[in-house]
Symmetry: C2
Subunit: 323 residues, 2 copies
């Protein structure tokens, strides 16, 4: 498919916006970029496979959005500003309508963040998308997993468990991921699964305020567990403090909703810790996203959540992700 | 395979050396890197799929080497120094011996170039390896495809067609890629296919000397065609000037050897153009790799090679690569 292949790359390239700091974009042996002085480069790489990280029937525009969103979410969790990245796309067939729809979703999110695609590769094979995304963060201001301090509050953004709830409904046959749901609550959950919002603005605002941060991709317990392990502390979570959307509670009931919020992955909200004296600051940030205090950092190790002791995090529905 | 998955990542991480400019390596939401002042960042991404870019029975240590080599070759073609990169690895099963052998080959080459793995993702699926590699090159000194000038000599490094010759022998059943060949010439070709040498040192030396450069991954005609197209010139190649190894000529005969050298891909030698007044400089560079003048840049468009007019470049043996 070599000729179609080049046409395919051109089709994707034509959609990418041009940043001033890209000296040379797609089309040479490598792209050339001008890193900002005084900044670290943040780099993350995540792969989505069909049938593992999203239902096989998911629409290409939603796949495009999500493939980039999960990577921008990692940059958000570092407090970094997204700048550039690459895409390795494996496709069973190179069909122009599929590519165009994929690009619609991918570049809708890319453009919203001023992020430029600067390279990649397309090969024939089972549908798989690997994005490597770069961000920039001023020296010394990155949010890391290893900075949580005893006494810190534990916070999360948005609501938890919505994506897991949507998957639960999809598995039960109650949710069609390929079309808008009639029910408003159902549609809300569907959007939360297919179109997660990377919390980039919140990540910026947390620089200099939060001591540690992580994005919730594998579930609150699993991801907060990484923070606790790397910081050498214990995370104490109050299960009745977890933010749950009305839609999730209504459609799945309080008990299942709670389970989803504790263990469900794929929400891409931020979980962070901050000293108690920053409480007012945090509430005043007015970031367009709600944040809620859900626990406290204490001495010890591991994550404790009343009623959920000993449970591990959510596995992606195909049981197959490295995080 | 989640627990095995984390063990697998740890297994790979333990093998990666630590560069001083890596502030934070694998293990957080993103790695943090300190770009060198006064340098551009060069970024390339290439995917290898089993059965498409290498024979399915290829040993893991050879797959590891090649997955990185094809990317470092792209950096070499830009005149860039390899620094860091990510690996997205899709594996049918996470078997420790396979991973260890893969890491042997991958890090043998990485360490030789002081290149550090700083992130990645592992998923279950058909064997596929996507590397995104970063290099650094001083401002304004990158070798690009668009700089060839009328009157330039056209040069290539090493010998051409060896990898294509090895694949030809493998297809005919005459070459086992999984073990050393008894015949010295056969073994030479096998190594050329499985363990290509990225010409990083040559790429450095060509900064300020060459006007344009490309690495030969899809075949001389195809890759030189990119240079001609982007530079707005015509490349005139003398087919009897092409450097052919004694092993290739001996095992495949002069005619097939010539075909391989003109159209064969996967050699990962550099092809570059330079003004005639640099001829003595180039021969004096003593780079540990032979270079040979094979043609001239003239006015016009396209690539002309006597006896091969109208032919396109080599397709990877599975007919499925984007370059």
């Amino acid at each position: 498919m070599s000729l179609a292949e080049f046409a395919l790359i051109d089709r994707i390239r034509a959609r990418s916006r041009a940043r001033d700091d890209v000296v040379l974009g797609i089309g040479d042996d490598a792209a050339l970029l001008q890193p900002a002085i005084g900044h670290w480069l943040a780099v993350t790489a995540d792969t989505l496979n069909s049938g593992v990280h999203f239902p096989p029937e998911t629409l290409p525009e939603d796949i495009g959005w999500k493939a980039l969103a999960v990577n921008l979410s990692d940059l958000a969790a570092m407090g970094a500003t997204p700048v550039w990245g690459t895409l390795a796309l494996s496709l069973p067939e190179a069909e122009a309508p599929w590519i165009d729809a994929f690009a619609d979703g991918f570049f809708e999110l890319a453009d919203a963040h001023g992020w430029q695609l600067i390279g990649g590769d397309t090969t024939r094979g089972p549908l798989s998308l690997s994005v490597t995304a770069f961000g920039q963060v001023p020296y010394g201001q990155a949010l890391r997993r290893d900075g949580a301090q005893v006494g810190d509050d534990i916070w999360v953004s948005g609501t938890l468990g919505d994506a897991a709830g949507a998957l639960w409904l999809w598995r039960e046959g109650g949710l069609d991921v390929t079309r808008a749901a009639q029910d408003d609550g159902m549609e809300y959950l569907r959007q939360r699964l297919l179109r997660p919002t990377p919390r980039v603005t919140l990540g910026h605002a947390l620089r200099g305020v939060a001591n540690a941060a992580v994005d919730i991709s594998d579930g609150l317990l699993a991801d907060l567990g990484h923070v606790a392990a790397r910081s050498g502390v214990r995370a104490q979570v109050w299960s009745d403090a977890l933010p749950i959307s009305p839609a999730l509670a209504h459609l799945l009931g309080n008990d299942v909703a709670r389970d989803c919020s504790v263990q469900g992955g794929d929400d891409y909200e931020l979980c962070f810790t901050a000293p108690a004296h920053h409480r007012d600051t945090l509430h005043a940030l007015a970031l367009g996203v709600s944040i809620k205090c859900i626990g406290r950092v204490v001495e010890g190790s591991g994550v404790y959540c009343d009623g959920y002791d000993g449970l591990r995090g959510y596995q992606h529905f195909g049981d197959d992700d490295a995080g």
